[in-house]
């Protein structure tokens, strides 16, 4: 069963035309915790990855691959880590549907190009950060 409609598949392909460097989508699942959602998440990620040869997928188990999960700071499932030339700290908890899907596609493009669209002022301020910052953004599909 496909998640993408013909219409949004075309949109995603168009966005992926701009991909530069390879992107790895690291998926964390755990069948005991949230089997259905994890399965949906894996299917969605594989479907998206199939739209560009620059995208690869690795599926890990939160309970088994603990060191990897800890390294990524992932402690919930389903989760997706979007990695480009380095781990930029892009994380998704939950199956990215609706509005989240747009963010997910944009995260892939950003991780591939490594070119954030921010003002010079913002970049300078961020470069001066003395501590780690975690920005959690809660949203719903609609």
């Amino acid at each position: 069963m496909g998640f993408l409609t013909t219409q949004n598949e075309a949109g995603v392909r168009k966005a992926f035309d701009t991909l530069r460097d390879p992107v790895k989508l690291v998926v964390f699942s755990q069948s005991l915790a949230a089997a259905d959602l994890c399965l949906q998440n894996e299917q969605l990620v594989r479907e998206v990855a199939s739209l560009s040869e620059k995208i690869t997928v690795e599926v890990l188990n939160l309970a088994i691959d603990r060191e990897r999960a800890e390294g990524y700071g992932v402690d919930q499932v389903p989760a997706i880590v979007v990695e480009g030339a380095r781990d930029y700290g892009l994380r998704f908890y939950g199956v990215p549907h609706g509005r989240e899907f747009q963010n997910f596609v944009e995260a892939i493009v950003l991780a591939s190009n490594g070119e954030p669209a921010l003002t010079e002022e913002t970049r300078t301020a961020l470069a001066g950060l003395g501590t780690d910052v975690e920005i959690k953004v809660f949203s719903t599909p609609t």
Binding site: Q76, V95, N103, T122, L129, T131, K136, F138, T140
Partner: protein
């Protein structure tokens, strides 16, 4: 989420975590998510709705307590 993602890519210090609120009810409850998008930075600074870039940056700097940031 857009600004958070761009900031994460711009700085090795910043991580952007998107959370689908309906799939994580306990987490949403813990962070008192009543409206979305809700942004929580370092569990210290939070706001609802989208902010323009300068205000969003201000929230990040406030959460980081970064008097050193210029």
């Amino acid at each position: 989420m857009r600004l958070a993602q761009h900031m994460a890519v711009a700085s090795e210090r910043v991580r952007a975590t998107a959370i689908e609120a309906t799939q994580f009810p306990e987490l949403s409850q813990a962070y008192q998510v009543m409206a979305v998008p809700k942004v929580v930075i370092n569990d210290r600074v939070q706001f609802e709705g989208a902010l323009p870039e300068p205000e969003f940056l201000g929230a990040v700097l406030q959460a980081a307590g970064s008097d050193t940031a210029r």
